[in-house]
Structures are given as structure tokens and as C-alpha cells.
Amino acid sequence: MELSNITENEKSFDCDISKVASLAELEEIRLKYLGKKGLIQDIMAKFREVPVEQKREFGQKVNALKNKIETEIENKKQLLLTEQINKEIENTKMFDYSLPVDTKTGSLHPRTIIQKQVVDIFKNMGFVVEDGNEVETEYNNFESVNVPKNHPARDMQDTFWLSNGELLKTQTSAAQNRILRTYGPVCKVIFPGRVFRNEQLDARHENTFFQLEGVVVGKNITVANLIYFEKAMLKALFKKDIEVRLRPGFFPFTEPSYEMDAKCPFCGGKGCHTCGNSGWLELCPCGMIHPNVLKMAGIDPEEYNGFAFGLGFDRLVMIRTNLDDIRYLNSNNLKVMSQFKTKM
């Protein structure tokens, strides 16, 4: 075995690797040179035959050749892999990324979606969220919230009276007495619910609709507090600061009583279709809880006071969703209802 054999092998390797075009061919060459029965192994096997004085140089050269072959094969391999991937990429067919997708999901009732938003903001401010019945006693619905015996609201035409002497609650305030008794005299509670009025149906009137009521009772509660919470609620609902105005109103359960208007979030007060060109949306009757209401709930009005507000929920839902007929809200019309999905 001579040094020239090494040079020959190197030349032959150079020649072989230059012709390689595939990973399979490369593997053949790897086996040919580096395999157990490969040429490098052959040479090593004949190391004994090398004259002593050449052994050192011979060894170095064989090692150098082996390293070179290994490196070049690895490099070639990487090159071929890259080529292969590039080819694969080149041959890939582009997706029709514009095809429509079906994000099919069911839907929540728009009241549910908006109620969640309102409820969340009040929960964040430490309010309890309460539930209430739909059937109520005359006492809870009227007497306990200071609606006197002869008040027009008690007339047959406004209230759905039931055959057992009870009634369908005409206002969420029907729950006030129970709630104040349960949580008072220091409490912050909101209670959404369905209420009923014996009215003819049309696009703007329903006999079954939603309200959301809130009460806060404590010591030294003020009108300034009431305005604060109303504004906070509106901000959460319309996702921006809303200017509000309070006007004198009249409700038996509060004194003083107010109508709270919100500056129309759609036109900013300039007047539009939604606000009937007035620039204001009448959203929320409210006021300081009437001393009689507190008294009837066992709370001393000289020591404690509070405020209450009732949000006309369906009107808000109509404004937010652009619904043009309130009757859809109680309808089975899936063509409308299924459009709402679960967020808004």
C-alpha cells in the first residue's frame, strides 16, 4: 500500500461526488468510501503493509481523506435536502385561501348578551346580582314600593291579574322589598327580570319585556352617587364616555325622581333617527328611594337612604342591535334570532 493509493482514492471520490444528484446516490457513495467494507476501511486494513517510515504520513493522509469525505458528503446531503424541499415548495399548489368558511355556532338572545355586559360592570363594582319571580303579590308589586291603592298603574288595563289574586309583575321594583329585607340596610344589588303590562302589541309596545333594576342603600347616599353609577353603566354599555342629563320625573317609589337621558351615542347629540332627532335617549328612570319604601322594608329612613334605577332594557337592546320591531324579542323567529351569535 502506498501513499499514491490515497491520492487515487481522493481523485476517484472527487469524481464520484461531483456526479451525485440524489440522496440515494449519495448514500451509495457514502457506503463505497465510508462503509464497513468501503475503500477507507480497505486502506486502513492495509496499514500494516505500509513501510514504517511512511506510517506517520500515511496515517495523517488517510485521516485527512476520511474527514474530507465525511464533510463533503454531509455538505452534499444538506444541499440535496434543501434542493428537495425547494422542489417540494415549488410544486406545492396554492390553497384557495378565499373560500368561505362556516363559523357555525348557535346564538344567545340579544338580551342575554347585553345583560351579561351590564351585569359584569356592576359585579366589578361590588354589586350582588339577584333573581326574581315573574308572578308577584299585589303587596310586593304595588304597596311595598309606595304605589298607592288608587294609582292608575293598578288599573285593570295595565296589570295582568291572575285568577288566584296574584299578578304578573309590572316592574322589576316588585322585588325591591324582598331584596331590601334580604340585604339591607347597606347593600348594592342589581336584578334583571321580565315584566308584563297588559298592552296592545305593536312595533314599539310589548306586553312582555325586560328591565334591569339596581338599588344602593347605605348612609349618606347622594344624587351625585346615582349619577356616577349611571354614567359608569353607560360607559360599559356603549364602550365610551356618555354624557347624561337628569330631568325631574315622577315615580311613586322614589323622591326625588328623575328621568336619566343619555346623549345619543350614535349622533353625539346632533339628532338622528335613533334618538328621534332630540339628541338624547331616554333610558333610565331613577331617583332616591322614597322613605316609605325603606320603611316598608324595615329600614329606618332617618338613618339610611339610597337610590334606585330601572333600565328599560329592551329599548337598549333595540338601539344596540338596530332591531326595528320590539316584538322580535319574544318571537320564535330564528331568521332574526340566529343572527346574534354570542357576542356583541
Binding site: K104, T105, G106, S107, L108, H109, R111, G126, F127, V129, E130, D131, N133, E134, T137, N150, M156, Q157, F160, W161, L162, S163, N164, E166, L168, R194, F196, N198, E199, Q200, N207, V216, G218, I221, T222, V223, A224, N225, I227, Y228, R245, L246, R247, P248, G249, F250, E255, P256, E259, M288, H290, P291, N305, L329, N330, N332, N333, L334, M337, T342
Partner: protein, 791 residues
């Protein structure tokens, strides 16, 4: 209610304040203004003209060609009015001017030139008569602009009646003027009235009140009334305020009502010369001024003459017979206050809501009767100075309201409002609103004026409102509250309601609906659905249905029915309330329920049932945190007798799940397979859930082996599981269902249940022998229990 600002300016000088500002402050301080109308804005260049000649139009049956003198020129005007005559003085809109309908141009009418228009009062917006052009009898200057003489220009505010419900004092211009005076700090002028003392020597009108529902009845008689038409100013004001001018006496009563807020009535004194205020026995039939007949209900108040002959329905409408006409020249004026509730009930019962009844419903102040009479006499004499008062102020004051005094700590106002409001502001404001005030230093003694004391103001909180509204709510800084930070109570039925709804919508593609509380008996009957109602509505005319529902599913079936032609799949749910019974005190037992309905034309009943079962198990396990199960048991008649089941937990029974009864299915739509469930949601939500803990896993390799177990085709999985539960092995960590195979030909009356057993140990890797031993033990166990492996 319409408010004329010209009229208001009689009582309070608001000059220099823009209309926008008037509206804004009134809105914030008093009541809602729904609209502002600029009367007379479109009436331009309308002058008085005299018709010099009237010629028939050669080409038209009804048109005339007029020559009209408007001082500077004589205009040729083609006119269609039937009432035109030579020498008539009328209102003429010149070319270039305008009337309510628009601009007037020179034009040709059926071939004849016309330069201007003769106007009817309706065309000028100052009256209701549109049948002929104005026939002006009062002395006017030909050629003068009508606006130089008549108050055509005015700003009219429309106030929302509802926002005046509790303010009887605001149902007249003087009361509104008082508000403006307080809001803008301008003095309120005294109401010009006649001095009734002058007549105290004259005879008295006989008045008897025989009911407790009349507070006060006052009257005065005038004779020799020879002018029968109101002056133009009064007529225009009445029209702008939404009424019509009729004749002087009728107009006067209306005018005073719009002025001081107390309805009045005028009787022909020749017919009515004494008054009895009585209650109807239910048989009184009255023909009103509009010639309509009304039966006056029992207990309603009737005004009768001395012979007890009814002449008016008190506080609502006058009778025809005793009413005044254009010729009446002696009149008995009524100023009275009746009980608000009595009037309201009577007016509703008769179906007659009038300007008078609307006002009486608000609880008017009996102290107003002398004011109204003094005012009407003043106005009558102003128009007809020859008219003569022939009776004294006659008065029967049966029932008085108590005077109300309120002790008020001025600091109380700041305390409630949350802003510092000075004592000086409080005193000034209350005085402007005519409250009497005695300043005792730390305490004010506030005397409520009678016109606010009938029901509106009685406690110190009412005074807070008075002061705060004039302080302006827009001046109050919003402030948050300081409260003790503490966790708030969670109500599970509300807390979990949203989560359950969201899961049904997002994971099970169902649509939430809200349906009425009514029991749709016709629908149910037509589709053989039985549902009981435990209570009924007493008046169901607006609901259409009289019963209250006791279950939710019939409503969802109705929803399916209404949508079946638009969809292949209908998946709906509702969380709603039902009345499921009456307790021993006859009170409603109400439940908050969840109902879900999955219907499909493509899926099998078993597939739908399984989806629905998955949904409710999902809600129970992953929202409430409890394990539930199904069990055999009675459900409802509209469900399938075999395939409907109870939904239970270990401790409770929540409701039922199943497929639709074949008969109901056929009736609604046989194309649809339907699975549905109804459970007591509140009960489910209130079931105490478990604290979720994770299961630790073995660090050694686990092994899965499948067994195909052959068993009777009717053996339900739960019973198979019960058997397998008896098999004990240390290395068995659990098993799960892979597949159930049924094939009549191959397996006959058996089915093959493929179960995957998971074997593992916590302290070593399982050896082949251990696994093999498990297999042999298990097969032996099966054969002992009359089960075998398939193939």
C-alpha cells in the same frame, strides 16, 4: 300640552333669553319639552284687503275673479272660496309672500291671471276654519300686515303630558310662567283678575253638594252678554294651544282653563239657575255638547239643576241642553274641584278623556275656584264691557286639604344631593316657587302653597327635589361611593345561567329564544300536547291566551312548528319561568326551567338524543360540577313512552329527556326527528358541585387491551357496567367504551360491546405474565357472569 310663549310673556318677562336656552333649562328643571314650533314663521306678507268686486270666472263653476284693495294697489285675485262677497275684508297674501303651505306666486287659474291669495284662517295657521276665506269684522287698516295687529308670531312649546302627571299646577300657562320665573330669576307678574268683592251684595247662586267627592263648587252669573265672538288674540292663543275658538263664552272657559289650569264650565243661565252636585245612580243618560249619548256610571258625579235634572257629567263634559250657544246672553259659570279618582274612574268607564278630566285626574287645588271666576269675569268685561255680573261669588266649600308645613334643615338638601347648596339658594328658590318660609336659623319652616299641596309635596324629600332641580342636575359632580370591600353573595341560578346558555350556543349550536309566559292551548290541542295551567289571566285580551304555562317544551315545539319550513335543523333552547302549581295558600309555585329541543331532518332520533344527553351531561359536569344520569321513569305525555327518561343525580330529580311521541311528531311534521329535554334549572344550579381534583398518572408504561364482549342485545350499558364493576384487579386503572356492534345475521339476539381496558401500575412496568394473567382472570370472570368474548 301646548304652551304659547306670548302668553307666558304676559306673566314673566323672558326677553333676551334664547328659545334654546328656555327649552334646555325647562327640560332640566321642570318637565320634558317634546317639540318647539315657530308659529307664524311661514306667514309672510299677508295684509288686510277689501274685496271691491266679485265676478264669476267665465270658465269655472266655483271660481271668482276678485278685485282686492290692499291700499298700495288693487290686485286681481282668482278665488275659490264660496263665502266671498263684495265689501268683505279679508286676509290677502301678496305675490312673494307665503302661507303655511308655501310661497305665493303670480299664476294663471283656468286662464285668468291671479296676483295673490285670499286666505282662510286655517291657511294662516291661526284657526281651524278652512271652508271659506277670513271674513274680518273687527276694524282693521286696509293694507296693514296682519302681524302688526294680530299676534301671529309665537313660539309654542309642546310639553310631554306624562311628565306633568304629578304637577296639577302646571296644567295652565300661569303655572308654567311661575316655573320660568323661578328658573330664570325673573319676577312673576300678578294674574289680572276682577275684584269679586264688588258683587257681594248681589244674590247668591244656590249650590248643594250631595257627594263627598266634590271638594268645592263655586259659581257666578253674568247677563247681558252681547258679544259672541272672542277677540283675535284670544282665538289665536286658543288655536295655538291646541283648541278651537267656538264662541265667546265657551272660549272664555277654555281660555281660563289654559290660563290657571282649572277647567270651567258655562251653563245657559236661563236653563240652569241653581246647582246640585249629586252622584249618578247608574241610570243617568247624558247627551253631551257633541250630541253623543253616554250612560253615566254609578258613583260618578253629575251636575244637576235645582230640579235635579242632570246638566253635565262633572269634570268631564257638559250636557247639550244646558250648554251655551252662539246666542246665549246670560251665563252661569262653574268653577269646581272634584275628587281626582272619581273623575278618572268615570272618564275611563265612559270612555271619554277630555281636557277637563285630564286635569281633574291630577288632583287640582280647590283654592283655585275664586281665582278662575275672578279671572273669567275680568276677561269677559275686557271683551264685552256691557256684560253685567248679577250674582255674588257663590261658593260651597265642602272639603279642604290640610295646610302642609315641613321642617327642613337646609343642610339636608346638600346631604342628599351630594353638593354644597347654600341656605340662601334654598330660600330664594322655594320663595320663587311661592313656598312660604320662616327662617329659624338651623331650621326652615316651609309652608307648601296650596297648588302644590294636593298630593305633590308633603315631605322634606319633596323639597330636596324642588331645590335640586332648580340648582340644575347638570351642576352636580358625579361621585363614587366608599363601601366596605367584601365578597358578594353569588346566586347560582344566575351565575350558571349565562354559562349554560353560552355552552348550548357555542358548543351545541343551539339558538336561544325568549317566549311568552302564555299556554298556547290551541296549538297544544291541535298537536295533541297536554299542558296544564294552574292560573289564568283575568283579562287576556292583550295576551291572546288566558293560561299561564307550566312547562317550557310546548313553547319550543311551537317554535319548531313556526320554523320547520325554513330549516333542516332546528336547535333551540330557553331558560324561562313557569308556574308549576299552587301551594296550600293558593300562591303560585314558580320554577326557573331549562328546555332544549334538537330537531333534524337528517339525523336519527338516537343521534339527536345522544347529542342532547351529551349537552346536559356537559352542563352538569363542566358548569355545575356534578355527575348526573338518566333513569327510567314517568315523563310527559307528549314524549315517547319508551324513549323518554328522567334526568337525575344521586340526590335529586331534575326533569326529563326523550324523543317526541310519534303522534305529536306526525302532527307537527313527520320529516323532523326531535329530541328534547326540560329540567328545573334552579334546582340543578343549586346542587352542590364537587371540588374538581386531578387524577395522578403512573410514571410507568400503561397498556391498553380491547375486549369484544358479547352480551344480550337488551342489556343496557349501565347494567353491563354494574356487572363489570364486580371485577377486581390491582392493575386495572379503568375502561372505556370503544364501540357497540349489532348485526342480526351474525350475532342474532346478541350485541358486541368493545371495551378498552387500561392497565398500569404505580410502582413498576407491567410484565407480560401480569398482562396475560389479567386476560385469563377477566375471561373467567365473564364466563361466571354468563358473558363471553366475541370470536
Amino acid at each position: 300640552m301646548f304652551i304659547s310663549m306670548n302668553w307666558i310673556n304676559d306673566y314673566v318677562d323672558l326677553s333676551g333669553i334664547e328659545v334654546d336656552e328656555l327649552v334646555k333649562r325647562f327640560n332640566l328643571s321642570t318637565a320634558e319639552i317634546e317639540g318647539v314650533e315657530y308659529k307664524g314663521k311661514n306667514v309672510q306678507n299677508v295684509v288686510f284687503g277689501k274685496v271691491l268686486s266679485v265676478e264669476k270666472h267665465p270658465e269655472s263653476n266655483h271660481l271668482h275673479i276678485l278685485k282686492v284693495d290692499v291700499k298700495d294697489e288693487i290686485l286681481q285675485i282668482v278665488c275659490g272660496a264660496p263665502n266671498v262677497y263684495e265689501g268683505m275684508v279679508t286676509a290677502v297674501c301678496k305675490v312673494g309672500g307665503s302661507v303655511c303651505a308655501g310661497k305665493i306666486k303670480a299664476t294663471k287659474l283656468v286662464g285668468v291671471d291671479s296676483f295673490g291669495m285670499c286666505c282662510a284662517e286655517a291657511e294662516l295657521g291661526i284657526g281651524s276654519d278652512d271652508e271659506g276665506i277670513m271674513d274680518i269684522k273687527e276694524p282693521v287698516t286696509i293694507g296693514a300686515d296682519i302681524k302688526s295687529v294680530w299676534p301671529v308670531d309665537d313660539v309654542v312649546l309642546e310639553i310631554d303630558n306624562k311628565s306633568l302627571t304629578n304637577r296639577p299646577d302646571l296644567w295652565g300657562h300661569y303655572g308654567i310662567a311661575r316655573e320660568f320665573s323661578a328658573i330664570f330669576d325673573r319676577p312673576l307678574k300678578k294674574l289680572p283678575v276682577a275684584n269679586l268683592e264688588e258683587y257681594s251684595n248681589l244674590p247668591e247662586v244656590e249650590i248643594d253638594i250631595e257627594t263627598n267627592n266634590c271638594f268645592r263648587y263655586s259659581s257666578i252669573v253674568a247677563e247681558n252678554v252681547n258679544i259672541h265672538h272672542s277677540n283675535r288674540k284670544m282665538a289665536i292663543r286658543l288655536n295655538y294651544a291646541g283648541m278651537r275658538d267656538i264662541n265667546l263664552l265657551a272660549d272664555l272657559t277654555n281660555y281660563v282653563m289654559l290660563d290657571v289650569g282649572l277647567p270651567m264650565h258655562a251653563f245657559d243661565h236661563k236653563i240652569v239657575d241653581g246647582i246640585k252636585v249629586i252622584e249618578s245612580d247608574g241610570n243617568v243618560v247624558m247627551t253631551t255638547l257633541e250630541r253623543e249619548e253616554h250612560t253615566v256610571p254609578k258613583n260618578a258625579i253629575v251636575i244637576a239643576d235645582r230640579s235635579r235634572e242632570p246638566v253635565a257629567i262633572a269634570g268631564i263634559k257638559g250636557g247639550l241642553k244646558s250648554g251655551i250657544s252662539d246666542e246665549t246672553n246670560s251665563v252661569l259659570f262653574e268653577a269646581a274641584v272634584f275628587d281626582s279618582e272619581t273623575i278618572r274612574k268615570a272618564s275611563r268607564a265612559i270612555g271619554l278623556i277630555t281636557d277637563a278630566s285630564q286635569r281633574y285626574e291630577k288632583s287640582l287645588d280647590p283654592e283655585l275656584t275664586p281665582v278662575a271666576l275672578a279671572r273669567i269675569i275680568y276677561l269677559l268685561k275686557e271683551i264685552d264691557s256691557e256684560a253685567k255680573v248679577v250674582s255674588r261669588f257663590s261658593d260651597c266649600y265642602k272639603k279642604k286639604y290640610d295646610r302642609i308645613s315641613i321642617k327642613l334643615d337646609p343642610k339636608f338638601i346638600s346631604k342628599i344631593v351630594g353638593m354644597e347648596i347654600s341656605k340662601e339658594f334654598t330660600i330664594k328658590t322655594l320663595r320663587a316657587l311661592e313656598f312660604g318660609i320662616k327662617d329659624n336659623g338651623n331650621e326652615l319652616l316651609v309652608e307648601v302653597p296650596t297648588f302644590r299641596a294636593t298630593k305633590d309635596v308633603s315631605i322634606k324629600e319633596d323639597l330636596v327635589e324642588e331645590v335640586a332641580r332648580l340648582y340644575g342636575y347638570d351642576n352636580i359632580e358625579p361621585k363614587t361611593l366608599s363601601f366596605d370591600a367584601e365578597p358578594q353573595k353569588i346566586i347560582p341560578s344566575i351565575e350558571y345561567e349565562y354559562d349554560a346558555k353560552l355552552m348550548l350556543a357555542e358548543k351545541y349550536n343551539a339558538n336561544e329564544i325568549h317566549s311568552y309566559l302564555w299556554n298556547y292551548e290551541d296549538f297544544n290541542k291541535a298537536n295533541k300536547i297536554e299542558m296544564k295551567s294552574y292560573v289564568k289571566l283575568l283579562d287576556s285580551s292583550n295576551a291572546g291566551q288566558s293560561g299561564i304555562r307550566s312547562e317550557l317544551l310546548p313553547t319550543l315545539l311551537r317554535c319548531l312548528d313556526e320554523n320547520k319550513n325554513n330549516y333542516e335543523d332546528v336547535r333551540v333552547f330557553e331558560i324561562g319561568r313557569v308556574v308549576s302549581g299552587l301551594d296550600e295558600e293558593n300562591m303560585c309555585i314558580e320554577n326557573k326551567k331549562l328546555a332544549v329541543l334538537f330537531a333534524s331532518q337528517k339525523k336519527t332520533e338516537f343521534e339527536l338524543f345522544t347529542e342532547l344527553k351529551t349537552a346536559i351531561f356537559d352542563i352538569a359536569k363542566n358548569i355545575i360540577g356534578i355527575d348526573i344520569m338518566l333513569d327510567k321513569g314517568e315523563t310527559v305525555k307528549y314524549m315517547h313512552p319508551v324513549n323518554s327518561f328522567r334526568v337525575k343525580s344521586r340526590t335529586d330529580d331534575y326533569g326529563y329527556i326523550g324523543i317526541l311521541h310519534p303522534e305529536v311528531k306526525k302532527s307537527i311534521d313527520k320529516r323532523f326527528n326531535v329530541a328534547m329535554l326540560e329540567i328545573d334549572f334552579e334546582k340543578l344550579a343549586n346542587t352542590k358541585g364537587y371540588a374538581k381534583k386531578i387524577k395522578n398518572i403512573s410514571k410507568y408504561q400503561a397498556v391498553d387491551i380491547d375486549f369484544n364482549i358479547l352480551c344480550d342485545e337488551n342489556l343496557i350499558y349501565a347494567d353491563l357496567a354494574k356487572i363489570l364493576g364486580k371485577f377486581k384487579s390491582k392493575i386495572l386503572s379503568g375502561y372505556s367504551l370503544v364501540d357497540i356492534y349489532e348485526n342480526k345475521e351474525q350475532l342474532k339476539d346478541k350485541k358486541s360491546v368493545t371495551l378498552r381496558f387500561n392497565l398500569s401500575s404505580f410502582d413498576h412496568t407491567l410484565s407480560g405474565e401480569e398482562i396475560e394473567k389479567f386476560r385469563t382472570d377477566f375471561i373467567e370472570f365473564l364466563s361466571k357472569n354468563n358473558l363471553e368474548l366475541r370470536g
